[in-house]
Symmetry: C2
Subunit: 352 residues, 2 copies
């Protein structure tokens, strides 16, 4: 590459991305469930297009503003699920606007949220699809029991402007047995009430290659799989060669024999540990631990000589890919066919 890339830089290997997308889509096709990738990992309309072209039925977003920026960024995005309780007049107003433009679904885990959605969508010709969010062990949002899911499903179905769309969960890693039991029980109760359960959607990259253990689910929402990261290598889900996102950094100081400082700190790599020790993996240097980050400095230490010089570049697989793309206004996308391109991270920072 003749262009000097300024560091720290987030680099994306598009050829690895394509392989990651196709691998999971093929698995899903083989086992007969749909893929609806969570775009929180890449935040890029063009990356969503690659996922849709491979066979994804739509995208998942977490916030209304995120969905909006993705839809505005690509004509190919026509089906969006927002896996969040949407609250407040301004957000509901934006949701209405979005519903005019794409096939839209959201989730709810309380009557308070359903009431807000219903008030906004009442009287409109096309009802908003609302899925019941279920807690299958992550203890974040979600109704606690299949009975509660059935009660809320009926409540949604009876609400003006809304249609009951199915069940959604974001399970903890290894929570598939719980998902299967919860969703099977909830579905039976809801069907007994005379309602159809259109979609049962679950997610999580760590368990995606055993998604067939949840035959009750019709849809999977993987996010990180598109890039992978150090947390997934540590879980044995992938290897370094499957990691499409790396942070390119420059050594700015070698102040001791076993220590080097790079120009990527928590503003590039983030403080996310995800249960790991250290803040990332320096490719090709298993001996190095990134043991400390400040905002603009990363500290690399080794038991032996660090063997790096000022000005030298290193490539780092971060602990958590999704949060890294939220730190940067653009990513450097490299592929064999197209060379180096700079893509703006369109949905970065869309927390509203």
């Amino acid at each position: 590459m003749s262009v000097e890339i300024q560091t720290p830089a987030v680099m994306i290997d598009l050829d690895i991305v394509r392989k990651n997308i196709i691998r999971f889509q093929s698995f899903a096709d083989q086992h007969g469930f749909k893929v609806r990738p969570h775009i929180k990992t890449h935040k890029l309309p063009k990356m969503a297009e690659l996922q849709l072209e491979a066979g994804a039925i739509g995208i998942t977003c977490q916030k209304v503003s995120e969905a909006r920026s993705m839809v505005e960024g690509s004509d190919q995005i026509r089906d969006v699920l927002i896996t969040y309780n949407i609250i407040g007049d301004e957000k509901l107003s934006q949701l209405l606007d979005l519903a005019d433009r794409v096939s839209l679904s959201v989730v709810a885990d309380s009557t308070a949220v359903v009431d807000g959605l219903s008030k906004a969508f009442a009287g409109r010709p096309k009802p908003l699809r609302v899925l019941v969010e279920c807690n299958t062990g992550a203890d974040r949002c979600g109704v606690a029991t299949p009975d509660a899911a059935a009660v809320l499903a009926k409540y949604i179905a009876a609400s003006d402007g809304l249609a009951f769309g199915g069940l959604m969960t974001y399970p903890p890693v290894g929570g598939q047995l719980h998902v299967q039991r919860f969703m099977t029980a909830a579905k039976a109760l809801i069907v007994a009430d005379g309602l159809a359960v259109g979609t049962i959607t679950t997610g999580g990259t760590p368990d995606m290659m055993t998604a067939n253990r949840n035959p009750v689910a019709t849809e999977y929402r993987p996010g990180t799989y598109v890039y992978n990261d150090r947390s997934l290598v540590a879980r044995g889900v992938c290897s370094w060669k499957d990691c499409a996102l790396t942070v390119l950094a420059t050594v700015v100081s070698v102040p001791a024999a076993n220590r080097a400082i790079i120009d990527a700190g928590s503003k590039a790599l983030t403080s996310d540990l995800l249960g790991l020790t250290g803040y990332g993996h320096v490719l090709g240097r298993d001996d190095i631990n990134i043991d400390q980050l400040s905002e603009e400095h990363g500290r690399l230490v080794s038991d032996g000589p660090i063997g790096l010089d000022v000005g030298q570049k290193v490539r780092i697989v971060p602990n958590h890919a999704c949060v890294v793309t939220n730190m940067t206004d653009f990513v450097h996308v490299v592929s064999a066919s197209r060379g180096l391109e700079v893509w703006p991270v369109v949905a970065r920072g869309k927390v509203l």
Copy 2:
């Protein structure tokens, strides 16, 4: 306030900011040292102007792009210290441009960095001021000994296009005795070599109110003091009423009696712990622990009933104010005299 502020939102109380700025400036004036605030905390040209109007002699930045955006954002910023080893042709080129516009100083801790600066600035009428960065116990960047500082000072003074500007350190909390000893010894060696030590600059909000214990230092670079945060309250440096930055969040789910979920996750509060337990303090609710963050969800737990309703708003003092302002494109600034204003975070994400 009649305007509904969409959450999560970063709120700044400008009246508290003014008090924080004046408190430290008065202390510095009383003890006869200069203040050069680190703008990494606010990233706002207008906030730097308040610091300069109160008596600061200039600003500190960590990266060239950060300095550039601050200088472009305010005519009042005429003196900038970049406390970073600047490496690479593109960054050096931007440094040259910046040196034409403001009184500029940088740091270096190796001959490799000095050589790069010298190559860029050689032959220019106005030399670049370069301070030697010293390691006084933080074990990040910096020369290891006073002897090494003196050697590098001579090397800078003998380099084309550069002028030796003094000594800089970022000490660990409680490292003031070490700073005083290191800087006194280094200064004596450098003066014995016939060089003047123009500036001796140290920093760190936690120890700023005892900066007079480092009489050898001529300048202090506080950053977080402008907003304060939970880490500083935990250290006993300030109280909640001194915290100018809070994150306003909305409860989106109350899925269990002792648990509530808010719409601020690690994309608003960040995963920075700074040695603390939990991810922030809910004002007025000492019983609540923010025990888990995912990207868009924060989990609030209490030993007793959580006592929050869906739609209710909470205000959170984050663990670390500086990193929070790096997550958001704008902040909501409130003051008694001016009401509510929205300020773009001009130097957000400037990591180059």
